[in-house]
């Protein structure tokens, strides 16, 4: 199959996935006994039947679920995700506003996660069953077992409160809030550099350090485990013995012969981790007051904000479809034997 046809097929595949997700999200939202009216109107307004009635009509809650779903889907086809009940802004605008913050954090975190995780995993596999291996394995187990919210609080209280080495909550220092770089990419680090504003850049990086270390160390535990087991499996193969017996230097054997063949599971788990970071690290974002997708989804869930919940669900589905797509393409380059189907 040609590359173009492969890509076209993958793009067409998105359509049923998106409809599946909207149906699923809509079903779950309607299957639970929660009422958006009580979640969004203050008590005083709830006592006034007229206000309640207007609210119901405004958000289409007076119509039967099937009709609401069909309306939603027909708007969706026209690219309209609806308006958030909570923020009163179009959901698409909200996503545009919050997604870059999450993307910036997720990208910094995955870089930390990969450097730490792959490093630990390789060391662990090469020095298998030695003290180094045990230490690395315990570290990675602690990484996946430690509640990310606890790690965040400990990091904040040590590095921000006690030592004052990094910045605290949010994306920028409060005094710089007014100097928010004009949104080009929505990444404060890139946008501030584009404008040559070093002070804002420094502040943005300083705010990214703690949350990305926290998320990165969590992800690194998972990556390290897969790296270790995948590399160990490859190291037991005959072609590694052959390479060694040819007299190749160990470094070369590991880099060129072993790592390349061990990459597939590692790339898969990195892709999945990046996907889940991109779909919003709710706990970390809420502690660091990070204005991202996770916090937006939290707000939407607690206020029964259907349009926002649906919008974010579709976004998450698209993120995973996208990440899987990139991973599949990477497979193809990592292992030419794999055919794109």
């Amino acid at each position: 199959m040609s590359f173009q046809r492969y890509i076209l097929r993958r793009i067409l595949f998105v359509i049923p996935v998106v409809f599946g997700i909207t149906f699923f999200a809509f079903f779950i939202a309607n299957a639970v006994p929660a009422d958006p009216v009580t979640a969004n109107l203050p008590q005083s307004a709830l006592n006034n039947p007229e206000i309640v009635e207007t609210f119901r009509r405004r958000w289409g809650l007076d119509r039967p679920p099937v009709e609401r779903y069909l309306t939603y889907v027909s708007n969706l086809v026209q690219g309209d995700l609806g308006t958030s009940i909570k923020t009163r802004r179009p959901v698409i605008d909200d996503i545009r506003r919050f997604l870059p913050a999450t993307m910036e954090l997720a990208t910094f975190s995955i870089v930390v996660g990969i450097s730490l995780g792959v490093g630990l995993g390789v060391v662990s596999a090469l020095y298998r069953n030695t003290v180094v291996d045990y230490a690395a394995r315990v570290f990675s187990l602690v990484g996946v077992s430690f509640p990310v919210f606890l790690l965040a609080l400990i990091a904040l209280s040590i590095f921000y409160v006690q030592l004052g080495w990094t910045s605290g909550l949010g994306r920028l220092d409060i005094v710089l809030q007014t100097r928010q770089p004009p949104a080009v990419t929505g990444w404060y680090t890139i946008d501030s550099l584009l404008r040559g504003d070093l002070r804002t850049f420094q502040s943005a990086v300083s705010h990214l350090i703690l949350p990305s270390l926290v998320l990165g160390s969590y992800v690194s535990g998972i990556i390290a485990r897969i790296t270790r087991s995948s590399l160990l499996e490859v190291l037991g193969q005959d072609y590694i013995r052959t390479a060694r017996s040819k007299g190749l230097r160990e470094r070369f054997v590991i880099r060129r012969h072993a790592m390349r063949n061990a990459m597939i599971p590692i790339v898969t788990v990195i892709g999945l981790s990046y996907g889940s970071l991109l779909s919003g690290a709710v706990l970390t974002e809420s502690i660091f007051a990070w204005p991202g997708i996770g916090r937006y989804m939290y707000q939407a869930s607690t206020s029964q904000d259907f349009p926002a919940i649906m919008g974010v669900s579709i976004l998450i589905a698209l993120i995973f479809v996208g990440v899987n797509f990139v991973v599949d393409i990477l497979y193809y380059f990592l292992d030419p034997r794999i055919r794109l189907t």
Partner: protein, 296 residues
Amino acid sequence: MSSTSSTISSIPASASRSTRSTAWGHLRRNPLVGVGLLLVLVWLVLGLLAPLIAPYDPLRQNVSNRMRPPHAEHIMGTDELGRDVFSRVLYGARVTIPAGLMVILFGTVIGTLVGAVAGFIGGWIDETIMRITELFMAFPTIILAMAISAALGPDVRNAIIALVVVWWPNYARLVRGLVLEIKSKEFVEGARAIGATGPYILFRTVLPNCIAPAIVLGTLDVGNAILTFAGLSFLGLGPEPSAADWGRMVSSGVDNLNQWWTWLFAGVGIASVVLGCNFIGDGLRDFLDPRLRKGN
């Protein structure tokens, strides 16, 4: 996840006595498993005996004695309402650990039944159920659980329900795969030949062979379930605000960062229980995956 499932599905369906004793020997030789068992046991005992050990009522407020750092009377200090942190940590074990276990229990049972029925009947029913499990698995666990438990209303029972809803698909997929494999075995054909009916074959000959792998996956997952429950509780979607619960206690740390004793001990509680479960699970996984076994 998938690699774990595939490892698990390669477990011999009915482990013989000798395999079992090797398993036990192997697990005992792994020092981490010992540490894990110890951690989990200590918390189980502390949680069970909390009413006897706890020096104070975990809910009793004493505003004149609030935010005191650890000292002789309150070895872990007091919180923002003057409640004894040590007593609250002990009682917290009674919420979080059982909640995690219930999630696994119900998730395993529901997932096993659904997966077994899907795999056994096959056809469009199987196809539909599997597509539904894929939709569930398309979302990150915490996001889906958060959305469901927020809709049901913050409450321990609802948090557990939300987590079970998120949890069962893993087991359904695992068991369905096993059922498909077992269905074609001779002994199933034999049962059919002597005239056994569908339900009898499913529940008496096929299902018993799927239970061990499902239980193993459950064991590997307990730590994760406890961690996710604590996360929901941290977000305010678990026990009521005043409850003596670990996740809730840690979330108070967001406002009281400097009073580290109000949140750190509860957090260490969560971390140590989950770590214990994962040490045990890791030992089990090592044993089950022969490629990673020592000396091979």
